[in-house]
């Protein structure tokens, strides 16, 4: 993004929440030439500056999402880099990490470069590609981490597919150290999952759907923590969903292992009981599945106490024809980018999470997992900022979303909280002029 075209932007009167710098109060934020210039209580706006009045709003570092499916190349009917990056901006995200389960998978520089070129053309949120752990995501041979890193990948993952072989996972964690790449894992013992399509328990028994036990996730989390111990590799647990997994990560961190974890807004707020109430709505089908209320509480506690580092949406667009089928046949996954803020903000209202911790998990906490720039409003940091109206109420209309898909379990729900301005590199890439 060319900073030459970006002048000075001043955001006045808002409540600045910048957990990395311990700031929470009314401040003025000055952005100049694509960087944060100054954050202060008494700052005069330069005469030529554009001024955003943020009274009654929050001003935070732009949100960073470690886990997004942009579907390009290969499944552009679900989402493209452009629509996904635009949806991200609408949700207050200034940077998103693109999972490599595209067609073809991002296991080589040409796919990485394509994603980056499309992202640059989109001019919305920044896009950081994630490369594959194994070539073709097949779980057989290591992908070329050096080439992927050089092309711009920030982590490796076979997301959607667990690495079945413990020996190969060991090598991945070891080899990735050479390029300082975290290995982000989708934890699932496929034999244990079997034909499971929702969380195993009373809710699945009631619906007659085959269950996927939390232990299918936990045995892999425990295995990979052991392998992180063996290798000294950087392990990142994607979309953690069970109480047992949270306990395992808490223990691993206590032992000083390089393990980080993310949780999704849906695993923080919805349970398998919501799936029962939805009457087999396939917009409540994702992997990992919605767990029990006790698991939801454990994930919330893990986020609150820092066991879980980041909130990541697992934004997974699917077209109507992938979802409007029998529950067993429906694709896994839901949209997340445009609803994350209000859904997580609701946890603050319910006393589950402090606002500061929420912002941290969406910004600096996320950046730390993958070593990304940004996530703070420190002078000199990239001018990536979200201006948020926590009181703005809106009804989720799937047809009105920026995403190309509509698969959201919050459809028709009234939520409170919305990004009014999203600024990337000092440039306003999203502005919501909707009436309050």
């Amino acid at each position: 993004m060319s900073s030459a075209l970006v002048g000075t932007l001043v955001i006045q009167g808002g409540r600045v929440i910048d957990p990395a710098n311990g700031v929470d109060g009314i401040r003025t934020v000055v952005l100049r030439d694509g960087r944060v210039a100054e954050v202060g209580e008494r700052v005069d706006a330069p005469r030529d500056a554009r001024v955003i009045d943020a009274k009654g709003r929050w001003v935070t570092p732009g949100f960073v999402d470690l886990h997004v499916h942009l579907r390009e190349p290969g499944q552009e009917y679900k989402e493209t880099v452009q629509t996904g990056a635009r949806a991200a901006a609408a949700g207050g995200f200034t940077a998103i990490c693109a999972m490599p389960n595209t067609l073809p998978p991002n296991d080589n520089a040409s796919v990485t470069e394509l994603v980056l070129a499309r992202a640059a053309a989109a001019g919305a949120a920044r896009v950081y590609p994630i490369g594959c752990i194994t070539r073709g995501r097949k779980g057989e041979d290591l992908a070329e981490y050096g080439e992927l890193r050089a092309a711009g990948c920030v982590a490796v993952s076979d997301d959607g597919s667990p690495v079945g072989s413990s020996a190969l996972m060991r090598r991945a964690l070891e080899y990735a150290r050479a390029f300082a790449l975290p290995v982000a894992v989708h934890e699932e013992d496929l034999q244990l999952v079997g034909k499971g399509v929702m969380n195993e328990g009373a809710a699945a028994t009631r619906l007659g759907l085959q269950g996927n036990p939390v232990q299918a996730e936990e045995v892999m989390v425990l295995r990979d923590i052991a392998l992180a111990d063996l290798t000294g590799g950087r392990l990142h647990i994607c979309h953690i969903s069970s109480a047992g997994s949270v306990r395992a990560v808490r223990e691993a961190k206590r032992r000083g292992l390089a393990v980080t974890a993310e949780a999704s807004p849906h695993h923080l707020s919805l349970s398998d009981g919501d799936l029962v109430a939805s009457d087999y709505d396939t917009d409540f089908k994702m992997n990992p599945p919605l767990r029990s209320a006790a698991d939801v509480r454990a994930v919330q506690e893990g986020l609150a106490d820092g066991t879980i580092d980041a909130i990541a949406t697992d934004h997974a667009p699917h077209a109507v024809e992938d979802k409007k089928v029998e529950f067993d046949a429906a694709a896994n996954g839901i949209l997340g980018l445009e609803t994350a803020f209000p859904v997580v903000l609701d946890l603050c209202r319910r006393g589950v999470l402090t606002e500061r911790r929420m912002v941290e998990a969406l910004t600096a906490g996320a950046c730390r997992c993958f070593g990304l720039p940004g996530g703070t409003l420190s002078p000199g940091a990239p001018a990536d900022v979200a201006v948020l109206d926590p009181a703005r109420e809106w009804v989720v209309d799937p047809h009105a979303l920026y995403s190309r898909s509509r698969n959201t379990p919050w459809k028709g729900r009234r939520l409170a909280g919305r990004a009014t301005h999203t600024i990337v590199g000092g440039r306003v890439v999203h502005e919501d002029g909707g009436a309050r």
Binding site: G201, A202, T205, R206, L207, L209
Partner: protein
Amino acid sequence: MIGRHRHLIGLEGLSREEILQVLDLATSMKEVLSRPVKKVPSLRGKTVVNLFFESSTRTRSSFEIAAKVLSADALNWTSTGSSVSKGETLLDTAKNLEAMRPDVLVVRHAASGAPNFLARHVGCAVVSAGDGAHEHPTQGLLDCFTLRERLGTLEGRTVVIVGDISHSRVARSDLHSMTKLGARVRLCGPPTMIPKGVEELGATVHHDLRGAVDGADAVVMLRIQHERIGDPLIPNTREYSKYWGLNARKAAEWLKPSAVILHPGPINRGVELSSDVADGPHSVILDQVQNGVAVRMAILYLLAGGAPEGARTEKV
């Protein structure tokens, strides 16, 4: 309409009164079946489509006879294999059939929730003829009907359901309906066949058949699938039969003389039931088949015949 419902998707959502409404009507319907001329004009000019995505001879035939006795026109539409492999989605198939203006769509599908899905998207009444491991509501109703006939009432009675509860829609529909009618329900089978959290649905769980059937008024023996490839729940049917099957000796020693044995069919003779039990004095299996027609007549009558204009469209 069954009470406030215009579809029959499951028995979990029906009230005790709504279940009794169906059973009482089925009693009248059964009388029709005993007449020399088994035909009444109640549903003349109505069309019932049987849409079966899983093979089923007896349930489909039972619905077909029920429709014909009531003078409805019945059409059977059978499709094996998943909608995906066929290239037409379930919804497209149902929408195409709906365009032919049936009054009732009877659906059997391997996917749990498929009838719920169709009920949301088609205009006619939807009756589940069994979906995945979710519910088989007409089977639950005919089992209740049969027990009421034999035991007088289900109030205070003890019913044991034996077999693969995890994969059984019959077990769920029986459990929901029988507990609503006041019965105590025990579930019995090896732990591999008992789904997690089933106690929350109001049943007690047993692994020892002898203890489970002690003092029971009725035993429902479920069909055991010979093979579950990749997910073995039992070593083989021989061992299953030894521990969870009923033969004449066990029936004589363990069951009350008045206890009745039900089976949703088709029976694996020699696995869950020995032939001498299936054909013996405790067995009410053929009563179930006849009662199934009467219960399905009642359901078709209520959903195709008596729906007043402007009625609420809530499903079961």
